[in-house]
């Protein structure tokens, strides 16, 4: 029963090899989907290319449905999986800062790594910026600490927050995603096509 490494089914020595293989697949999928192009990524904010929204929502839905099924069929215990913790204001303010960074830089960290791998100089500068940003945060940690450690609600899920059945939530979420896929295609056709290389 999964997860395999924490439950000792696969010995821990394998974890770095598995990390390399998982990363390889991650990088390959992102690059092949066009995530190494900042102009393609930025299209989601200007309505000329919605690949980010399509890939992101499809991945989220496939993964959440798959994990719920595997939990239901007994292959994985979903309560043993790591749930990203909720620090309310950290999540909001951090997200706002990242949102400005996304539109300014045209990448997020994972996609910038893919662009670095194919030789984009703007992506290398972006990654350099990330390192500087992390350095600034660490050096000024004492001022960020109340935000970083505060407003902690635990490793909660939407089920805990809204008292809704996961199956209903995923069903509604899927419907919303499908509608958004149709709507963004209509928007894209109305927008001026942007050419880039």
């Amino acid at each position: 029963m999964g997860p395999l490494i924490p439950n000792g089914v696969i010995p821990g020595e394998w974890s770095y090899i598995i990390a390399l293989i998982i990363g390889l697949a991650f990088g390959y999928i992102l690059e092949a989907s066009g995530f190494s192009s900042s102009r393609k990524l930025a299209g989601v904010f200007y309505g000329y290319d919605f690949v980010v929204l399509k890939v992101f929502f499809t991945a989220a839905i496939v993964s959440v449905i798959g994990l719920l099924y595997m939990d239901y069929l007994g292959y994985v215990d979903i309560s043993h999986l790591y749930v990203h913790p909720t620090y309310l204001w950290g999540a909001i303010i951090g997200g706002v800062i990242m949102g400005v960074g996304f539109v300014s830089g045209g990448f997020c960290p994972g996609t910038s790594l893919c662009a670095v791998a194919i030789g984009k100089i703007d992506a290398m500068v972006f990654v350099g910026g990330i390192l500087i940003g992390i350095f600034i945060f660490s050096e000024l940690y004492q001022y960020f600490e109340p935000l970083y450690d505060g407003y902690f609600y635990g490793n909660i899920t939407l089920m805990d927050s809204f008292d809704i059945s996961p199956y209903w939530f995923v069903f509604i979420f899927t419907i919303i995603a499908i509608i958004s896929f149709v709507v963004v295609d209509i928007i894209r056709k109305k927008r001026k096509t942007i050419f880039y290389n």
Binding site: A25, I29, A32, V64, P85, G94, C108, L113, I156, M159
Partner: protein, 176 residues
Amino acid sequence: MKIDSLKNKHIYWNPYFGGFLLGILIIFTFYITGRGLGATGAMKSTVVDIVDKVAPTHAEQNAYYSKFIEKDESPLNNWLVFETIGILLGAFISGSLAGRIGWRTQHSPKITARRRLVFALAGGILFGLGSQIARGCTSGAALSGMAVLSTGGFITMLSIFGTGYIVAYFFRKNWI
């Protein structure tokens, strides 16, 4: 390079196909390791490692670096660092097969390469800062968080993209 700048003929996957495979990969990652994917984690380890090498006492006294420093073990001995090496390899293989490898600065013809690099640097700094405050970036917090229906993951996702749309107007010259 198989790039036709007049017709946008990049040879990219269908986004739903890419999204589906990415979803399968996230399931696989949770099934094997119990955790999701990440991208900024390795960069944090890099910063911690550099500071620890350059100024060890400073790193030990800092409340943030010291969380990630263990005696006799490099901060780079970390799952996410190996995963990130994999990301670079995987993207390089994909880019090679599609003929997309090459040194260049990609920018809109309306702006100079220099302007693009300045905004890329500023964007990187903001992303680095924000990812530490939110404890994860688009991969670790938003994507992996959403896969297990984490409330914080959804909040971060909405916050990143919501802000993106609000501020997009001010950056439009760089992109359209």
